[in-house]
Symmetry: C2
Subunit: 205 residues, 2 copies
Amino acid sequence: MKIEEAQTEQVIKQKAKELFFKKGLIKTTTQEIADAAGVNRALIHYYFRSREHMLSILLDEAMEEKRERVKSILSFDLPFREKIARYIDAIITYNMTYPYLENFIISETVRNKDRTEAYCARNQSRSSDLIRDQLAEEIQQGRLAPITPEHFLVNLIALCNYPMLAKPILRTIHGMTEEAYHEFLLERKQVIYMTIFKEEMPSVS
Amino acid sequence: MKIEEAQTEQVIKQKAKELFFKKGLIKTTTQEIADAAGVNRALIHYYFRSREHMLSILLDEAMEEKRERVKSILSFDLPFREKIARYIDAIITYNMTYPYLENFIISETVRNKDRTEAYCARNQSRSSDLIRDQLAEEIQQGRLAPITPEHFLVNLIALCNYPMLAKPILRTIHGMTEEAYHEFLLERKQVIYMTIFKEEMPSVS
DNA sequence: GCTTGCGTTAACAAAAATGTTAAACAAAAA
DNA sequence: TTTTTGTTTAACATTTTTGTTAACGCAAGC
C-alpha cells in the first residue's frame, strides 16, 4: 500500500518481536508474522531472506540491547552493593518487558552454538572482570563470604532470570494468579539482594 | 525383526529420551528417532500414535521421575540444613544425567499450559508446604533472614537449575572448556549451600 | 509521457515432516 | 496345518511451512 513509507521492515520486526519475545510463541510461522504485521508473507523474505535469518537478526538485536542496558551498570563508578542493586533491578525490569526473551536466548544458544560464539566474541569485556576487584574487596573486608566472580554472577543471574524462565510452571505450582506472580517477581528484587548480602536493599531511585 | 521381543517400545522411548533430554536436540524428527532406534518410522505411530503424544509421554515420565527423586528428599525426617544439602545434591546430580531435560520442561510448559496444570494437579503436596515449618523455625531462631517458603524454594531451584539451562552461553561467556564447566557445576553444590546458609556445606555421604 | 526501480502481491514450487494403509511376516494357538 | 494375532514394513497421502517468481503499481526523475 506504500502508506507507511519504508516502514514496513520495522513493522515486521516489531510485530515479530512481540510474538516471539513478549508472547513466547516460539513456533510462530512466517505467515503468522505477516498477518500480525498486515503484510504479504513474501515481504518477509524480501526484507529478511529467510525465517531463520530474520530470527537471527531479531535475537542479535535483542541480546545486544539487553546486554547494553544491563551490563553497562557494572561499569558505572558506584559502590559495589549499589551497583548490584541496580543490576538486579535492571534485569528484572527488562525481563518483565520481554518475558520470553530469555527463553529464546537459551533455546537458540542450545540449538546453535555458532551464534553463541559470535555473540561472545563481539562482547569485549567479561562481566566477571567488571566486578572482580570490588568483589575481592568486599570479601577481604569480611563483608561477604568468599566466592569467585563467576559463581557470584551466575548466582545473581540465576536468581533474576530463572523465575521468568520457569514462570508457567512456578506460577502453577505455587497456585498464583498472573497478578500475584507479577507481585512475586517485583518482591524478588528485595529477596535477591537480601539473599546475597543479608541486608535490606537500599531503595533505588 | 522381532529379535528383541516386545522391547521395541522401550527401545524407542530410550533412544528418544537420549536425543531429547541428553543431547538437547529439540527438533528431532520422528524419522531420526526411528533411525536411532533402528526401526521403521511407522512403528512410532503404532506405539505412540503421534509425535506429540510420544513427547507428552516421555516428558510426563521424566518429570515424574525427577520429582520423585528430588522432592521426596524434602519429606525425609532430617534436620533442615541437611535436607537442603541433599536437595541441592540431588537436583544437580540429576541435571548432569539429563542435561537438557529442564530445557524441555520449560519450553513445553511455556508452549502447553494444559500439560503444566495436569502435572501440578497430579502433584499432591506443594514443595513449599514440605519446608514451611522447618524454615519458619530457622528464621525464628535467627539462623536465617526472613523469607517466604516460596521465595526460598525459587532461590534454591534457580541456583541449581539455571547453570544447566544456560550452559552453552555461560560456558562461552566464561571461556570454559566442557570439563571446566563440569567442575564448575560440581563446585556449585558448595557455593549454593554457602550462598543460602553462609556456612560450609556438611559433606553428604 | 516514458521509464526506471522499489515495494508489493498472488500464485506457484518445493521441501520437510507427519500420519495412514495394506500387505508381509512371524510366532503362538487351535 | 491352518488360523489368528500382534508386529513390522514400504509405499502412499496429507499437511504444514518455507521459499521463489513473475507481474503489477506507484512515485521520482528524465
